[in-house]
């Protein structure tokens, strides 16, 4: 049975119109393995601004800092945890829709054992713990047009081989489906060459924060993660599979919400094509949306009308492919509205 998770079905978040005045509390814990780490520096970075030191972790590794609500056109606050002898760790804190406050990290901030590079800064491009190119087995995307796939994990005995084949063949199929979808858009002369790469860091479907970090550090257009669990269903082994696509680019108050698709399939049908089929063209559509958001974010204050017209045509083409209940329809229409506003000018 295939279903879209209602909680995460894609609609663009129209975040709070402006900041609210109350201060926000961010709490967490710093650990190295199972050990709490005391006296780690806790700093925050807003956009491209310099880091602001907010406090230190206590003897139990816990910290509590106070920050201002995020401005209306920002949706992420970077949290940087530094400790002498360790590379700095970055966490991206998402803004809550009501208060404008950043969410506290849901898991302890894990320091990486090892020596930090000399002169490491805590600037906006710092790479988080474990998120070096080598540890992710991936290169940072220079153009931001790469989708990264984390290896699927299948829990339960006897699925290792199937999972291995899945992880081996999935990128090729996903790449092919994405290019085929983009190419089929009516009236779109050419679409940038989006690549699909793998990372070696497994991410569970629920690890949204971590996936955001990885995507941010790799300058990704999107991050795909998934997992499955074997279970017995009336004498037959089936896999409950969940795949999540997270769109990375954001424009002002707009950002894509992760689209989660759940499916239950017979264990002997665990093939990359099954996952690709499950997604149909949804991932291709998300790529087009992500690209539009990326282009929007890069527009100057007075954008070229031709560029707006191009993006408008792209959204019209994308919408042509949709049914009335397409989970991404709301996102497309919001981007269309945004483009209309841009066209109208301030």
């Amino acid at each position: 049975m295939r279903r879209l998770s209602a909680a995460t079905a894609g609609v663009l978040l129209l975040l709070a119109a402006g900041p609210v005045s109350a201060a926000c509390s961010v709490t967490g814990q710093v650990k190295l393995g199972e050990l709490p780490i005391a006296d780690a520096d806790i700093a925050t970075v807003l956009g491209g601004a310099d880091p602001v030191t907010r406090g230190h972790s206590g003897a139990d590794g816990r910290f509590s800092i106070t920050v201002e609500p995020l401005p209306h056109d920002m949706q992420v606050l970077k949290l940087v945890v530094s400790k002498t002898g360790h590379p700095p760790v970055l966490r991206l804190l998402q803004k809550t829709s009501g208060s404008g406050c950043p969410l506290s990290p849901q898991e302890p901030v894990a320091l990486d054992p090892g020596t930090p590079p000399s002169g490491t800064t805590t600037g906006g491009t710092a790479t988080g713990s474990g998120d070096t190119e080598a540890s992710l087995c991936a290169k940072r995307s220079s153009l931001g047009l790469t989708v990264f796939i984390a290896p699927y994990r299948i829990y339960g005995g006897g699925a290792d081989q199937a999972a291995e084949r899945l992880n081996r063949d999935l990128p090729e199929i996903v790449h092919h489906r994405i290019l085929a979808f983009e190419s089929s858009l009516a009236g779109v002369v050419s679409f940038p060459d989006v690549s699909v790469e793998t990372i070696c860091l497994p991410l569970t479907a629920a690890q949204g924060e971590r996936a955001q970090e990885v995507g941010h550090n790799l300058n990704a257009l999107g991050v795909i993660a998934g997992e499955g669990e074997l279970r017995d269903n009336q004498g037959k082994t089936v896999i409950d599979l969940v795949s999540v696509f997270r769109t990375m680019p954001a424009y002002k108050t707009y950002a894509g919400v992760p689209l989660s698709i759940e499916d239950t399939i017979p264990s002997d049908s665990l093939r990359p094509s099954r996952i690709a089929e499950q997604m149909r063209d949804i991932w291709g559509k998300q790529i087009v949306l992500a690209y539009a958001l990326q282009r929007l974010a890069s527009l100057p204050a007075s954008p070229d009308p031709a560029e707006i017209a191009k993006l408008t045509a792209l959204m019209v083409s994308l919408r042509k492919t949709m049914t009335a209940d397409d989970p991404l329809l709301g996102q497309v229409e919001q981007v269309q509205a945004l483009l209309t506003d841009l066209k109208a000018g301030p």
Binding site: I173, A180, A186, S190, R271, R274
Partner: protein
């Protein structure tokens, strides 16, 4: 004004009403064996008016099946359109002169892999074909994923446009493009062996004849020694394929290769529509002894197949406990390994003006491919509607069902202006839906104010309104209200 006849003429395809002598339906654009490389640069099917090219499937996983799939699909399409005059299918593989000339130093497979539909359009333009069929073979765990694509080349005449000309006003024509020129078709997933588990029957393709039978080779090459012969008309058990060579099981425990040119390809299944008192026969000919008298209704697996008198296909099927042969003329629908073959066959028939055949083929495809994407199904419903309109003996006939088809299309792609443009053409052209047609034009422009077809339709309506000639579109309708509505749309949408 009731009873007044509004005369409309239809021009649904560029080739309607231009009968031409039957032509060989199949050709090949490049050498098909090592001894025929001289034909690689030859222009192909130049005199065939309506043609498609099947491009070698791209094969990133190096399964060695890229060319094989293009050949299978090519032959299935040929089987499907074998009775259609002046239609042809070109098979393109390797680096052929025509494609290479267009692409410079690019390998066309690399070109396809990176440019997809745009590449297929470029190749179709170069070869002057109306369609490109291509695809990809991708390793899929322990099986294969075969993804076919269909690109319609709209530059080769207005064959994807439904145009209705007025008989009353000489220069009045209403037309709109049918949506979906770049179709990503439903992939096929199967094990490698399963893909060849189908009826193949030997035939003789040698000009010198096959006095000993059809030659089998030890390896997949004309240079390989002949391993033996099988009689013409024998069923073979295929197990794999390598380029143009089918690998088969032979003499129980041996394998050999036969060139696909020496094989007939038949459908996997045939469908009958409530055929009563059908005589199943012991052999593939009318004179063969009867086995049973049965009712045939629904899908039947083709157990074996052969050519009977006049090259008519005969199929051996099972009905209940009886197994026997039935003539192909009784079959309502043929199902191939690629459901898209019926779609492509429908497009061929539409393009050649065989609207009845096109209607049947599109219906067959829609019945056979329920999992197909909404975009493809919407496009097929539009072609189906256009076939009904163009194939109707009078303008009223078929309009109701055509509108119903377009309604279905609109549910599938409600944000595509093309379906509303087409429905507007049918509404306005049928003379009974003036306001409905105008509303559809408005829907279309709401979705995309720059849509060229909708702009053109609106401009035509404005012109008619100015000439006080709206009555040609609407008997017994409120022409004054329509004129007011057109004025409103003009102010809101029409570019000067």
């Amino acid at each position: 004004m009731s009873g007044r006849v509004i005369a409309w003429l239809l021009l649904a395809a560029a080739f309607l009403g231009t009968p031409s002598p039957p032509a060989a339906a199949g050709e090949i654009a490049n050498c098909f064996s090592q001894g025929l490389k001289g034909s690689c640069t030859e222009r192909v099917l130049e005199n065939v008016q309506f043609k498609a090219v099947v491009l070698q499937f791209v094969d990133p996983g190096k399964t060695d099946l890229g060319e094989s799939f293009s050949r299978l699909m090519w032959r299935e399409i040929l089987d499907n359109i074998s009775n259609l005059a002046n239609a042809g299918v070109i098979l393109a593989y390797d680096r052929q002169g025509e494609i290479q000339h267009a692409l410079g130093d690019k390998d066309y497979r690399v070109f396809l892999e990176s440019e997809y539909h745009a590449a297929a359009e470029a190749i179709a333009l170069q070869l002057k074909t109306q369609m490109s069929i291509w695809g990809a073979v991708i390793v899929d765990g322990d099986g294969l994923l075969v993804q076919p694509f269909l690109t319609l080349e709209t530059g080769q005449g207005p064959w994807t446009t439904l145009t209705m000309h007025s008989g009353a006003i000489r220069d009045l024509a209403l037309g709109a493009r049918i949506a979906g020129s770049r179709l990503n078709l439903e992939p096929l997933t199967a094990s490698r062996q399963h893909l060849f588990d189908r009826p193949f029957v030997t035939r003789c393709a040698l000009s010198a004849g096959c006095p000993k039978g059809v030659p089998l080779r030890a390896e997949a090459s004309n240079d390989s020694p002949i391993a033996g012969y099988v009689p013409v008309g024998s069923s073979i058990q295929a197990i794999d394929m390598q380029r143009e060579w089918i690998k088969l099981r032979w003499q129980t425990d041996k394998t050999a290769y036969v060139n696909i040119y020496h094989l007939e390809m038949f459908p996997l299944r045939v469908t009958f529509s409530n055929r009563r008192d059908v005589v199943l026969r012991a052999g593939p000919k009318s004179a063969s002894s009867p086995v049973a008298k049965v009712v045939l209704d629904g899908d039947y697996e083709v157990l074996d197949a052969a050519r009977g008198a006049g090259a008519e296909p005969w199929y051996r099927i099972r009905q209940g406990s009886a197994t026997g042969w039935v003539a192909g003329r009784l079959v309502a629908r043929r199902s191939y390994i690629f459901p898209a073959v019926n779609l492509i066959g429908g497009l061929f028939r539409y393009g050649r003006g065989d609207y009845k055949g096109a209607t049947e083929a599109f219906q067959a495809y829609l019945a056979e491919a329920p999992e197909e994407s909404n975009v493809t199904r919407a496009a097929v419903y539009q072609f189906l509607a256009a076939s009904r309109i163009a194939g109707g003996s009078s303008i009223d006939r078929g309009v109701k069902t055509a509108i119903a088809d377009l309604d279905r299309s609109a549910v599938l792609t409600p944000f595509d202006p093309a379906v509303y443009n087409l429905r507007a053409v049918v509404q306005l052209g049928s003379g009974h839906g003036l306001m409905k047609g105008l509303k559809d034009i408005e829907r279309s422009l709401n979705l995309d104010p720059t849509d060229a077809d909708a702009q053109r339709l609106l401009a035509t309506m404005v012109d008619l309104s100015k000439r006080h000639a709206l009555e040609v579109l609407g008997i017994d309708q409120d022409l004054q209200a329509a004129a007011g509505y057109i004025d409103k749309l003009r102010e809101q949408y029409l570019r000067t």
